[in-house]
């Protein structure tokens, strides 16, 4: 097992949050987190920031005429092919 510095641990935070870590890197990070309160707080903040950005995606209004414009585009494409 590799002993991680805080800087090395932080580089793995997002992959950990995205469930993309496995095997030795995951074990190394988990071992670091067991002993480093500061990194636990920073990881919690990274999770909080992800959730914050997701909830702040702007509401998007779909134009009423979009479906008819897509149908027309499909008609044109069918005629050209």
């Amino acid at each position: 097992m590799r002993v991680l510095s805080c800087e090395q641990a932080m580089k793995l935070f997002f992959a950990y949050l995205d469930r993309a870590l496995a095997g030795a890197p995951l074990e190394d990070l988990e071992a670091h987190m067991e002993t480093c309160l500061s990194c636990c707080d920073k990881l919690a903040f990274s999770r909080q920031l992800d959730a914050f950005i997701k909830t702040r995606f702007a509401e998007v209004a779909v134009p009423d005429e979009l479906e008819s414009r897509v149908r027309q585009a499909l008609d044109r494409a069918s005629m050209e092919s």
Partner: protein
């Protein structure tokens, strides 16, 4: 219900029945139009670009419809086509961070800056309350300031909840590249929010 003696349906043999193919496609694909348009707006940041890319997506998807093996996964299939088109558009006008900028980005920590500055001394949850101050527009602007090669995987991750492997397949790059882009994309968002906090006077402006 039609009789069971009819050997073929539009879905089983669409290529031989163009009208059936088209109506089958529309029936399956058009219910996802709103979803795709919203995804396109979030990926491109512009409603006109989003509409163009959605139209292109449907044209391409109709063309490739006979190759669709799992109709129940049509939404994710359409999202992939749309993402490819957005990436292809970005290739024509690529934007990247400068190398020096990347090193600075990798070290950037919004957590540390907020902790050091302590802009809300009476808060019992400093970082949560700091984030809660930002209006939605600020987050949108920060996302749109991201170069596309970073924004596209980040938005796909947030909206589609794709794995790194799926993102790597869609975006045509190694998993390691996806990992570093998603890391930098978040660091960039942190830095943009800090700049924004300074502009809005949430924190002292002489710092960082």
């Amino acid at each position: 219900m039609s009789g069971s003696d009819e050997p073929t349906t539009a879905q089983e043999e669409p290529a031989k029945q163009p009208d059936g193919l088209r109506s089958c496609f529309e029936q399956l694909a058009l219910p996802h139009l709103g979803y795709l348009y919203k995804l396109a707006v979030r990926l491109t940041g512009k409603t006109q670009d989003a509409e163009d890319v959605v139209q292109e997506t449907y044209i391409k998807a109709l063309d490739a419809f006979p190759t669709l093996r799992e109709p129940e996964r049509i939404r994710s299939w359409l999202s992939q086509i749309l993402s490819h088109l957005v990436i292809d558009r970005c290739r024509a006008r690529p934007r990247e961070f400068a190398v020096g900028d990347m090193a600075e980005l990798d070290r950037f920590s919004l957590y540390d800056l907020v902790w050091d500055e302590d802009p809300l001394p009476y808060s019992d949850n400093l970082h949560r309350d700091f984030l809660a101050q930002f209006p939605d527009d600020d987050v949108q602007r920060a996302l749109l300031a991201l170069p596309e090669v970073y924004r596209v995987p980040l938005v796909l991750l947030y909206v589609e909840d794709l794995s790194y492997r799926e993102l790597a397949e869609i975006l045509g790059c190694p998993v390691g590249t996806i990992m570093s882009r998603l890391h930098r994309a978040r660091k960039f968002m942190e830095r943009e929010l800090w700049s924004c906090a300074k502009r809005r006077g949430f924190v002292r402006s002489e710092d960082a």
